[in-house]
């Protein structure tokens, strides 16, 4: 549906984005991760036709939109990081203004405004001035304004920065519904890894203006680890069992922890039956078993050398 081809942007001497290649299939929810200054916002600006690329192309259904940005603007909704609203106007007045300039037909605009207000949970507060809203409420109106023309693609640039958990949950739920129930294609950037994990089917990780990794969550996780980490809790302590476990094939390390025993084994080696067998032999029960897998946060750290909030 939407793809970038060797998309680059240079500001004077500095390359902000370098030959980015990403694509979004219709109905997909894609995350774009990267530390500050990685080039995410520049990429979004070029995709949304707000900024002209130095080189490369952005294609919508195979057609370049660089020379004719109207094509993408019709189907695109952008939720910027900033609260792009008129603070002196009410939520309703803002939506009416943006609805009109988005050319939403007069006869459907009123209903559409009420729909999007319902979607973001602000129908009861629509007559109040935006400047009187909390940060979370402003962000919800910010999203509503991008939904008025029923966009097929929705780009959200860190839409949950600095807001309360209730508003965050509301926003995440709204985005999830838009993707799952309305089939809206989502490109989502965030500093919160859990949000991306929760919402996105695929993830692009950017650093220094380049895509350093991409794929599904499983694919990304596979980059990182060649080992599995298993945490077990036993009915009683036993040194001999500890030694037996150490002797199991593919087990690389066994450590006692406050929660029990932590076992590191070769990735994909199935040692569970061996563990159960060894415990039974010693007359000890395994009362808790947990397979610990590396998180996307770990992958991000591995690839960029920074945490997401650096």
């Amino acid at each position: 549906m939407l793809e970038t081809v060797k998309l680059s942007k240079t500001f004077k001497e500095k390359k902000a984005v370098e030959e980015i290649e990403l694509y979004l299939h219709a109905g997909e929810s894609v995350g774009l991760l990267g530390p500050n200054g990685a080039g995410k916002s520049t990429t979004i600006s070029m995709i949304s036709s707000l900024m002209k690329p130095t080189s490369g192309d952005v294609k919508l259904d195979g057609k370049s939109i660089i020379k004719n940005p109207s094509e993408i603007r019709k189907v695109l909704g952008v939720v910027p990081q900033e609260i792009a609203l008129y603070e002196e106007l009410s939520a309703y007045e803002n939506l009416k203004f943006f609805g009109k300039i988005y050319h939403v037909a007069k006869e459907v605009l009123e209903n559409r405004i009420q729909e999007v207000l319902e979607m973001v949970g602000l129908k009861d507060r629509q007559k109040e001035l935006v400047k009187t809203f909390s940060g979370g409420m402003k962000r919800r109106v910010n999203i509503a304004a991008a939904l008025l023309h029923k966009p097929k693609i929705l780009i959200l640039d860190e839409p949950t920065v600095g807001i309360d958990p209730q508003s965050r949950n509301h926003i995440l739920e709204t985005v999830r519904k838009l993707n799952e129930m309305h089939g809206t294609t989502i490109l989502y950037t965030s500093h919160y890894m859990k949000e991306v994990e929760q919402l996105c089917n695929r993830v692009y990780i950017m650093d220094h203006g380049r895509v350093v990794a991409s794929g599904t969550k499983t694919e990304l996780l596979s980059i990182l680890s060649t080992e599995d980490t298993i945490q077990i809790q036993l009915s009683k302590k036993s040194d001999s069992l500890l030694n037996t476990i150490k002797a199991i094939e593919h087990v690389r390390r066994v450590d006692e922890t406050t929660q029990g025993i932590r076992i590191i084994s070769k990735k994909g080696s199935n040692i569970l039956s061996d563990l159960v067998h060894a415990a039974e032999k010693e007359g000890i029960q395994i009362i808790h078993f947990q397979m610990e897998v590396p998180s996307l946060e770990d992958v991000f750290l591995h690839l960029t050398g920074k945490t997401l909030r650096d």
Partner: protein, 419 residues
Amino acid sequence: MGSFIKKDLLVFWRDRKEVLLSLLLPIVLIAVLNIALSGLFNSDEDSINIHVGIVEEDNSSIGMEQFEEALNQLNISQVEQEAALKQAQMLDPSKTVRDFFNNPELQDWLHTQNISETEAIKLVEEGELDAFVKIPEGFTYEVLSSIIFDEEADVGLTIHADEQSTELTTLQNMVNNFVDSVNLQFALGTSAGTDSLEQLLPQGGSEIMEGVEMYSFSQYITIAMSALFSLFIAQTVAMKTVTEKRERVFNRIILADSHPLQFLIGKTFATFCLSLLQITLTFTVSQLLFDIFPDKSMQFWLGILIIFTLFALSIAGLSALFTSISLNLRDENAISGIFTAIIMGMAVLGGSFAPIQSLPAVLQKIGEWTPNGLTQTVLLEWIQFTNPSDLIIPIIVLIGFFIVCLAIGMSIFPTRGRN
């Protein structure tokens, strides 16, 4: 288009600080300046009434005799003595002073009475008199000796008052001008070898043109303040664009794919409405409070409205230019600084702080081509002459200014958020 205009007007209206600054401040300033400074402009002279006591302690006959005696003791020829005496008789200082204060041309606003010093002091203290002028004993002899023998005079006219006032300042200026005038005439009469000494009365600082109505300080200050604050509306609207850009609302407007010029035209029209509202409101309130333009005809008010409309249009053009500039520059402080500099420059050149006539000739010419300077000039002319043909060229110039500014604004208006 309507959405943009409505939005801009609403955003302005809901910003209470801007409303107060743009709509109420000029009215407050006009009121304060009117109350504090009225009377300084000469055309407000009909509202000035100066009550002066004349205390004459001099006896001009005795003074003349003393002068004649002194003349006789000089070692000069008979012919020279006679000529000097004739000059002295024509000059007669005490009589000249009396004639000056009793001049019929001044009687409408300068009220004099001959009284004793004791009585004069009492009346000044009671506030019945603004001041009294004392012609001291020996004044005739001293003045004649000073002028003809070139001796230093020991006595002179003195003004006595209890407190400083506009009336006192005016009286002081009058007496100073009178003395200068007499001295100058005597000097000229002497050097030209003529004995004619026609008295010239000082006119009080500016020319009075017969048959032409002068504009008053109140009228000047109303026009100047209205024009100045209208200029600021162009800046205010343009600075709202800076906020729209900073908060990415402008990007959202670009993404809505509405024609970019709708945004610019919306700003332009909103500025036109606000500017026209501001100047009309300022004039209306000033008129109601101070009756700044008394007894004016419908034709006069219609002309004023036409000038206002054209001026508001020129301000709208300026706003379009400012808006486009603000979208092309990134540094908000620089944008604000540039606009303030332009506006203050236009205000100074256009006569918003002091009448344009007080500027050097070159700056006057430039000032007359600024929209505020032109409007101010044409309004002041309209007050004096109410001649419709005087409006034609200013109207063309103001429309031209609007078109040029709008055209430049449109040509540099960005169609993307950033390149």
